[in-house]
Amino acid sequence: MTTNTMQTSALDVDALHNTDLDNIVSVKDLSVKFEVAGGFVFGLKNVNVRVPRGQIVGVVGESGSGKSTLIYALTQLMADNAIVDSGTAHMEGEDLLSKSPREMQRLLGDDIAMIFQDPMTSLNPVFSIERQMIDIQYRLSISNKEKRQRAIDALHRVGIPNPEQRLTAYPHEFSGGQLQRVSIAMALMAKPKLLIADEPTTALDASLEVQIIELLKELQAEIGCSMIFVSHHLGVVGTLCDYTVVMYHGDVVEQGPTAAVFNNPQHSYTQRLLACDPARIKQRTKRLPTMDSDGSEHVEIPAGSYLASQIGKEAQLENDTDQLLKIDELGIRFPIQSKLSAFINGNKDPYLHAVKKVSLTLKRGETLAIVGESGSGKTTVAQAILGLNEPWCGAIYFQGKDLLSLSARERGKTRRDIAMMFQDPISSLSPRMKISDLITEPLVIHGLPFDSRNQEARRLLGMVGLPLDFADRYPHQLSGGQARRVGVARALAQSPKLIVADEPTAGLDVSVQGEILNLLNQLQEDLQIAILIITHNLNIVRHVADRTLIMNMGNIVEQGATESIFANPQHSYTKQLLAANIHADPV
């Protein structure tokens, strides 16, 4: 495999080298290692990358593949324990690696600009946009008034409405998409020669993602700069980039023109990576292929566990109530003004109506997806089922019982049959507890029988495919995918009848997404669990959901069988959403 890797990258480098392209950045044999307790970890191994002038180079890879290390090495923003082992990185003939911090400072901002993943955290929350946009022009010897005008022009250019008024606003007063536009405006104000974008659309909804990508493409052509675009999203890279670099474990395994890489991948890793992308799998399937398998392997429910003791019982009990969950005209609102000040101001409705008259039903063993963009109220509905907020009208029936009319105590008991998987896999695990305690906690809380906490934990870990010694680890020692598996184990420990999964694939690499979804699917079949998936990822919904429900602004705009919604969307919003969904093929 290593020899294969070497050959492929060597071939591609030669190919690139022979074409008479003018390269703005050329990285040669770059190796970076990290000093850790007890030795070194390799971040980059003999990486050769060239960025042709005026072109967009996409760097794809899964987490840990070294794609971020590469761009941080170019900008000297690496962590303190990073050591450049060998190799060079040149930009227009200048050696980037040997520059002093002072020289690098001059280069960054003028010649190299960066856009980061999360605009919410990459802008300073206590200064207005005006202050921040004027501050970054400190090198220009023009008056503040001119700087202000330039800022307004830049905001206008990236499509912020009313830039004169919006300029004085603070970061929290913008939406995520607008903030990313502001960061792009700031990055491009100095007209840099090289723009480095590190996962700039990952934190955004699909329709915003498309807009940002179009904006980047437009501005790049206008300014004529080159761009390095780092992403784990194959579809985005396929749509935007001229060249694609595929990285794996610190190696560049394949690089070349995007169309060639996507349509005719040479390296086996690229082939498998593309095969894993649910967006590229045309035929609807409940078993998604992963890096190591075609997804058909079977998950064993461990003998002796509480879960195993529940398998037979489910079917007998549940024939009487076919409808597991029924939500009737549910409305949830949050106060945005105190009652007194609303009365004084004559505001008759001082509430934010997050969910307006939502009705849905869910059968046993069925998968229902609620799809919507952020702010559509989809997570609020999920939290209402779990009693995490108080609806003001409507009803939630679970196994025929109206949850909202039950006493808090009775309501708590229904949680024995409902489990939730939260959006962020790591921060939804209590940080001071061991994994073994975390995944068996539902059993302890609900007073369910099991023989020993450690043994039960090991059985559950085995079921979700984690090594048994993870029982003694803490949440911060896990990767996103591993933490997600722990989340699945915790949700399943009590053998629930309904799992509410909030963005179960958020932040995961495509192959890991497949693994998690396959795991859920297979256990769903064996245990007849109903799953409510809340997501904005249409590509996975198409494969795993039996029925789909589209939400927008607190309303359900369309619902029906997944296939018919994808094949024949009725509502204009659904059509818009489907159109915004980026397909993984280069244009």
């Binding site: 995490l388 959006q423 209590s430 001071r432 609900h446 029988p449 020993s452 803490y474 911060h476």
Partner: protein, 305 residues
């Protein structure tokens, strides 16, 4: 500690066993084992042990009666007879420091432990409970803090008379708001985090959320705060004793030794050094201990996993 005896599910094919979470004793020995592995933790433990032992065994170690006068040999420097010299009435300073440790530890440890406990409880309730309860608790905190400590102590002494327990009471009441506020702010931040939502979604009881999930995440900062508070409490004790509101005259305390040293600093520097040294050792010991304990309780900072 937390026992689970489930018999509700009679259909269960599993043998129903009593499940016990990790016992207090094994947690203690585990913590101790980790503590002595850290150089700072070991040093802290040694210093604290020295201070505690010398206070407890004062009557055995002390070469003189701490209140026996010897006017002829007043204000002497260190010598073979008097290791830390004598004070203005010729009393042996070393013996007074040893006995003074009893008072200091009694006052400091009991009042800080009580203030920490109450502050923790009130802070957790204020941070996680309903808004109205939070307002009430915060108003109480602000009311207490609005009294200057000395004036407050005068009022309490008027009601109860001067004694060690008066000092403890004053210190506890004035320190609760400090701990309480720190805990409340931390709890409020934690309450918004997803893992607390996850616990609520699992129907975890309020005590379980507060004591198993919130408490371990706030206790680290409190330990540091508490160990830094020890010298402050000892100086409060000294101040109150100086005003005649605390420990009465012949009973030795570190505070009174420092006060005497301050009055006679022109005659000899030894008195103030002898009173200050144990204070420094105690503070350092508890601070090292506190920091190491924080690192041990936080799995992210633990190095030996």
């Amino acid at each position: 500690m937390n026992q689970l005896t489930s018999t509700s599910d009679e259909q269960s094919p599993l043998p129903v066993k009593v499940y016990k979470e990790k016992g207090l004793f094994s947690t203690l020995t585990d913590t101790l084992r980790r503590l002595v592995k850290q150089p700072l933790g070991l040093l802290g433990l040694v210093l604290v042990t020295i201070v505690v032992l010398s206070a407890v065994l004062a009557s055995v170690i002390a070469p003189y009666d701490p209140i026996a006068l010897d006017i002829m040999n007043r204000l002497q420097g260190p010598s073979a007879a008097h290791w830390l010299g004598t004070d203005q009435l010729g009393r042996d300073t070393f013996s007074r420091v040893l006995y003074g440790g009893q008072i200091a530890l009694q006052v400091a440890l009991s009042s800080i432990a009580l203030a920490l406990g109450f502050g923790l409880l009130l802070g957790l309730i204020a941070g996680f409970g309903p808004r109205w309860l939070d307002s009430i608790i915060l108003t109480l905190f602000d009311m207490v803090r609005s009294f200057p400590t000395i004036i407050f102590a005068l009022a309490v002494v008027t009601l109860t008379g001067p004694s060690i327990s008066t000092i403890v009471l004053v210190v506890v009441i004035t320190s609760i708001p400090i701990y309480g506020r720190v805990v409340r702010t931390q709890t409020q931040a934690l309450a918004q985090q997803e893992f607390i939502l996850a616990e609520r979604a699992m129907n975890a009881s309020m005590p379980r959320i507060l004591f198993r999930h919130m408490l371990p995440n706030v206790i680290g900062q409190l330990l540091i705060l508490a160990s830094m508070d020890i010298p402050i409490v000892i100086t409060i004790e000294a101040g109150l004793s100086f005003l005649g509101l605390g420990i009465q005259a012949p009973t030795p305390s570190w505070g009174s030794i420092i006060n005497d040293g301050y009055s006679f600093i022109r005659n000899t520097p030894w008195l103030i050094i002898a009173g200050g040294l144990p204070l420094i050792i105690t503070t350092l010991g508890f601070t090292f201990l506190g920091e190491s304990l924080r690192d041990i309780f936080d799995p992210k900072l633990r190095k030996d996993v």
